[in-house]
C-alpha cells in the first residue's frame, strides 16, 4: 500500500528551520526507535538478499551453501522465463501506471465539479482500496470466467459470440489481471488527484478564466502544469506498486497459462518455495529492488528538473 505525503495547507510554510539550538543527540534519540526496527527488519534483509544472490543455497541449513559469484545473474540472462516475467512486469507496470493516472485524474476532475452523484462515486470508487488483494483476485476470477459479468456484458452486444475465457487465454490473461488492478486502485488515484486539485492556486485559475481561456485550454495550460508534482508522485506510487505485484497474479492465474502472466515476484516465489533455489530467487529479488529504486531516482531527477524549469 503506497501513499503520498500530506502538506499542511492552512499554515504558511516557512523556509528551512533555523540552525538548531538543540543538541544533535536529541534528534538522533527521536529517530532511534524507528531506525533500529527499520535497520533490523528491512535494511539487514535487503543486504542479506544481495549476499544470498551470490550463493547456491537450498535454504534449509545455514552454512550449507557455496559461493558462486555472479553465476545466478549469468543464468538469468539466458533464462527465457526470467525475460518473460521481466517484460510482463514492465508491461503490467507501464499500463497500470498510465491508465490509473489518466483515469484517476479524469474522475478527480469530474467529482471536483460537484455534479450530482459525485459523493456517491467518490465513496464507491474508493471502497475497493480497503479490500485485501486476495479477495479482489477471487472476485475478479469469477467476474472474468465464462459466465461472469464480463461475458454477460459482451453477450449484450454480441449475443451469438462464444464466451471469452479471459484468464485462460494467453493473450488476454494479463489484461484480466490489469483490469482487476485498475478496479482496485482507480479510487485511490482519484482521491490523490482530487486532493491535488483542492490545493491548486485559485488566482491562476481565475486569471485564466478572465482571459477567456476555454475549459480544455485552462485544464491543459493551468491545471496540468500546476499538478506536475502530484503527477510525479502518483506515477511513482503506481510504478512501485506495479513492480511488486504478487497476490493478484498468484491467486488469479498462478502465472499461467504457460507463463503468460508470470511476473518477477511470482517467479521469485516459485524459485524459492518450489525449487528451493534461494540464490536464484534472491537474484530475481535484487532485480525488483533495483528497478524500484531506479524508478524513485528517476522521479527525484525529474522533480528537480521541473523545479529548475520554473
Amino acid at each position: 500500500m503506497a501513499f503520498a505525503p500530506p502538506r499542511p495547507s492552512r499554515i504558511p510554510k516557512i523556509a528551512s528551520p533555523r540552525r538548531s539550538v538543540t543538541p544533535g543527540w536529541l534528534g538522533l534519540a527521536f529517530v532511534l526507535p524507528s531506525v533500529v526496527v527499520f535497520g533490523l527488519f528491512l535494511v539487514l534483509p535487503v543486504i542479506a538478499v544481495a549476499g544470498i544472490s551470490l550463493l547456491d543455497w537450498a535454504g534449509f541449513r545455514i552454512g550449507d551453501w557455496t559461493f558462486v559469484g555472479l553465476d545466478q545473474f549469468r543464468q538469468m540472462v539466458g533464462d527465457p522465463v526470467f525475460w518473460r516475467s521481466f517484460t510482463n512486469t514492465l508491461l503490467f507496470t507501464v499500463v497500470t501506471a498510465v491508465v490509473l493516472n489518466i483515469v484517476g485524474f479524469a474522475y478527480a476532475l469530474l467529482i471536483a465539479s460537484h455534479v450530482r452523484g459525485s459523493t456517491l462515486a467518490k465513496s464507491a470508487l474508493f471502497l475497493p482500496v480497503l479490500l485485501s488483494p486476495v479477495i479482489v483476485a477471487l472476485m475478479w476470477t469469477r467476474q472474468l470466467d465464462a459466465f461472469g459479468a464480463a461475458n454477460q456484458l459482451i453477450a449484450l452486444f454480441a449475443p451469438k459470440a462464444k464466451p471469452t475465457l479471459f484468464l485462460g487465454d494467453p493473450d488476454l490473461a494479463l489484461a484480466g489481471v490489469i483490469v482487476a488492478t485498475l478496479w482496485q486502485f482507480t479510487g485511490y488515484n482519484m482521491l490523490l488527484y482530487y486532493a491535488g486539485l483542492q490545493n491548486l492556486p485559485r488566482d491562476q485559475l481565475e486569471a485564466a478564466s478572465i482571459d477567456g481561456a476555454g475549459k480544455g485550454a485552462s485544464i491543459r495550460h493551468v491545471v496540468v502544469p500546476s499538478l506536475y508534482p502530484v503527477i510525479g508522485t502518483v506515477l511513482l506510487l503506481n510504478v512501485i506498486g506495479g513492480l511488486r505485484v504478487f497476490d493478484l497474479v498468484y491467486v488469479m492465474t498462478r502465472g499461467g497459462p504457460n507463463r503468460s502472466t508470470e511476473v518477477l515476484a511470482t517467479y521469485m516465489y516459485e524459485q524459492a518455495f518450489k525449487f528451493s533455489d534461494m540464490g536464484y530467487a534472491s537474484a530475481i529479488a535484487m532485480v525488483i529492488v533495483v528497478l524500484s529504486i531506479s524508478a524513485a531516482v528517476l522521479r527525484i531527477r525529474w522533480g528537480s528538473r521541473m523545479t529548475e524549469d520554473g
Binding site: A4, P5, Y107, F147
Partner: protein, 277 residues
Amino acid sequence: MIDRYTHPVWRVTASAFLIVSACIALAPIIWVVGLSLRSGPDVYSRSVVPKSLRPENFLDAWNQFGLGPLFLNSLVVTTVSVAVAVTASVLAAYGFARLKFRGSEVLFLVILLGLMIPPAAVIIPLFVEIRALGLYDTHIGLSLVYVAFGLPISILVLRSFFAGIQRELLEAARIDGATEIRILWRVVVPIAKAPIATVSILMFLFCWNDFFLALVLLRDQGTYTLPVGIAQFIGQYSTPYELVAAAVIIAAVPVFILYLVLHRQFQQGVAEGAVKQ
C-alpha cells in the same frame, strides 16, 4: 474554477457517468455479499440473482472457521503494530523535520528507499532472522516486521506535515521551558490529527489484510491471523465458497468501521498532502 461547469446537458451526462461508475465499482462487492447468502447448488449457479437466502452462513462460518480466536489474533497483531509504528514514526518524523542532526537527511533518504522494497523480495533472510531471534511463530515477530515495512510511508507522511508547522508555535513552547517531547505531545500531535489518522488507516489496512508474511512467519493454528486462518479452508479439490465469502465479509467489518469513523480525517490527510514531497 473547475467546479463551474454549468451547462445542464453536461451536468446530467457527468452525473449519469459517475453513477454508472459507482455501480461498476460496487458490483463485485455486491456479488460477494450475494454469494455469502447462497446455499446448496445455488452456490455454483450461474444466475446473477441468488435463488436462496441463508444468513445462517455467517454463523456457520464463524463457528466452523473458528473466527473468534482468529479475530482476536488479528486484532492484537494489528493494534500493536499500528500503535508502535505510529508512535515510532511520530517521534522519527519530528526528529527528521525539527531536530535535524548531522546525517539526518541521508538517514531519511535511506528510510524512504524502504518504500521501494516489497516484503516478498526479502522474505528468505527475514525468515532466517526472525527464526534466529526466537521470534518465529510469535505475534511480536510478525508485528516487528509489519512495523518495519510500515515505517517509511508513515515517516514520509508525518515528516512533511511537521516540517510545515509554524516555527513561532514551537518557539513559544520552548521559551516556556517545555521539553521537545512535551512540545511534540502537547503542541504538534493535537494539530496533526489528520495525518496521524491517515497513517493509522494505511498501517491498519496493511496489517489486517496481509497474508504472505503471516503465512510464512506464523506456524501454529493458535497464532493465525484472519487471512491465514480463512485460507486454511480453501481445499485442493473443493472449497465451501459461500462460507469463505461470509468469513471474508466478517473479516472486512473492522476495516469498514475504521474507515467510516476516520474517513474525514483520512481524506483531509490525503487532501493536505498530495502536492509536495
